[in-house]
Subunit: 334 residues, 2 copies
DNA sequence: TTGAAAGCGATACCAA
DNA sequence: TTGGTATCGCTTTCAA
């Protein structure tokens, strides 16, 4: 049998209440002498309190739920690392739900999280509009911070976002200033907030500089290498003319570059390319990828910070934060 | 307040015991009529049983712990995905512990897992030799399957490994047959099992073909891009002569290629390179990377399968399994 | 088929 | 400073 608080109490010749006190480092209510004796027995037996039992009475589990669409996209592991680091530092364990872009799995995880009584949730949803399930978090009193992606119609507690619009504005502007007039945008899925904002930034730059919006220049991918590759191949087959490519993430940019090379375009001489995310790999693609830097670690850190405050019952003076982009010029731009 | 089993019982005019029976789909002990009525109330109220409460009485949490050294290495997200997929399919939630190569964090996670009463653990340890902490799993009766990396002195329940020795044997042999006589090996950290096995495979091939072992040709990295890069730079600075490179993972191979390009070696004409893992990116590096294919998804799947059996109290006829490599020739080899 | 009550392993309140 | 005991939300055994 596993050793319980009762065993420790018996061994120490005290009550469970006293053991509980030393366990939780209560400053008062237990004499120095007793405390020492009890602590020794706890150590000797490597006694670990059952967190389930504790959770059921305190209604705190010291556990966070994290929902992500695709763990194989390197952006997310970096985010996970930041979240886990900071959660761990504060005594929290994180449970990860990888949804594979499936709303059903997302709903599933939310239910699991509620059933497991996580203390809070960090959500990067796979959909743009909230569904009944997301309200359930509120209903059950589970604080939730949205990360990276906003949602319509959701009364969220806090959000950590990135200024996608401005990011695409500056990268598009940069290409325009190089004399590019026909700039392709390989967007993410059309309905998620980040895509919408990025398209908006792209349009703003074009308008600002008096260039026309050509619908044919926008392709929609799903953040995979393959979708970036296919976007370029399609454009090529359609005979669309262009001199630069903006991709909504580095992975798709890499796919695009692969396709461009196959078509025998010279990068950056004939075609310039700018990615998005600045993942580790961006530095070592061939040629090294110019991209938008997202402060990934900072986003994760901030999300945890917000969540901790919410769980602490504090109200945030700024419900959401929008981090700013930085353009990193490497060798896929001139 | 959250709705509890008591509330449902009251609403349905039955006892908690009855509600519990329908909740757990017990085939007998509740009339068809009653079952229907109770189920309706459960649905209407979207009642979700408190898994902590259930866990405390059943001592089953339907939760698995997963320990990994580095989530930002793309090999692991692929593994995680496989594990999560299969765990989820069987009604299990997985908690991930990213240790950042720190034994302290690893110990921490094992303690957390025990305290949270996970039903089983999948462990890719950051160390080669087991320490007191790993025995604690056994002591607390938590089944554990080792994944990818073996450990000395650990009486493990099951293991899913990869035939690293043979993998390096065939890739080294391949290079030798191309006429390479001075083949560099960029190994992982010297003490972990996978490194030891890979070095052994490399040595076997050299011996087999009558080539000498030159200690200078082996460099030790830590599976990061940077360490692959540095390995080549060091060799170059040391004036070491070589015509081919074997890397212990694709990430280091990519770092190595970056360095080789800077030194202006032509790949594969002057230097051939073979990686290890066959991560998604391998296909789109420049030039596309020849590498050893590890059946990553299969390894994750198998680990879960083993763990489920162990948790079920079944004994495995084969405590461990060793999956076989396949050499994928792309364009970093001739 | 159903319900009453004990028990799981903690915490927390109230007395002593 | 301590201990006794109720309590959290379930499952499970035993009787009815």
């Amino acid at each position: 049998m596993r050793v319980t608080i009762e065993d420790i109490a018996r061994l120490a010749g005290v009550s469970k209440a006293t053991v509980s006190r030393v366990l939780n480092n209560k400053s008062e209510g237990v004499g120095a002498e007793t405390r020492k004796r009890v602590q020794k027995i706890i150590n000797d037996h490597e006694y670990k309190p059952n967190l389930l039992a504790r959770g059921i009475v305190t209604s705190k589990t010291k556990t966070l739920g994290l929902i992500l669409p695709d763990i194989t996209n390197p952006f997310f592991p970096e985010l996970i690392k930041a979240i886990e680091d900071n959660a761990h530092k504060n005594g929290y364990t994180v449970i990860i739900g990888n949804t594979d872009f499936s709303l059903e799995k997302e709903q599933n995880y939310i239910n699991t999280f509620i059933a497991n009584r996580v203390d809070g949730v960090i959500l990067t949803s796979t959909v743009d509009d909230n569904s009944a399930i997301h309200n359930k978090l509120k209903k059950y009193g589970v604080p939730c911070v949205l990360l990276d992606r906003a949602m319509k119609n959701m009364d969220y507690d806090a959000g950590v976002f990135f200024d996608n619009e401005y990011a695409l504005y500056i990268s598009c502007e940069y290409l325009i200033k190089h004399g590019n007039k026909r700039i392709v945008l390989i967007s993410g899925p059309p309905k998620i907030s980040t895509s919408i904002e990025r398209i908006e930034g792209y349009r703003m730059a074009l308008t600002q500089y008096g260039l026309e919006h050509n619908k044919n220049l926008i392709k929609y991918g799903n953040f995979t290498i393959d979708s970036g590759y296919k976007a370029i191949k399609e454009l090529h087959n359609e005979g669309v003319d262009f001199t630069a490519v903006l991709a909504a993430n580095d992975i798709m940019a890499i796919g695009a570059i692969k396709a461009l090379k196959e078509i025998r375009y010279k990068i950056p001489d004939q075609i310039e390319v700018i990615g998005f995310d600045n993942i580790d790999f961006a530095e070592i693609t061939d040629p090294p990828l110019s991209t938008i830097q997202q402060p990934t670690y900072e986003m994760g850190r901030k999300a945890v910070e917000f969540l901790l405050m919410l769980m602490d019952g504090k109200t945030l003076n700024n419900k959401h934060i929008k981090l700013q982009p930085r353009l990193i010029c490497r060798s896929t731009t001139r």
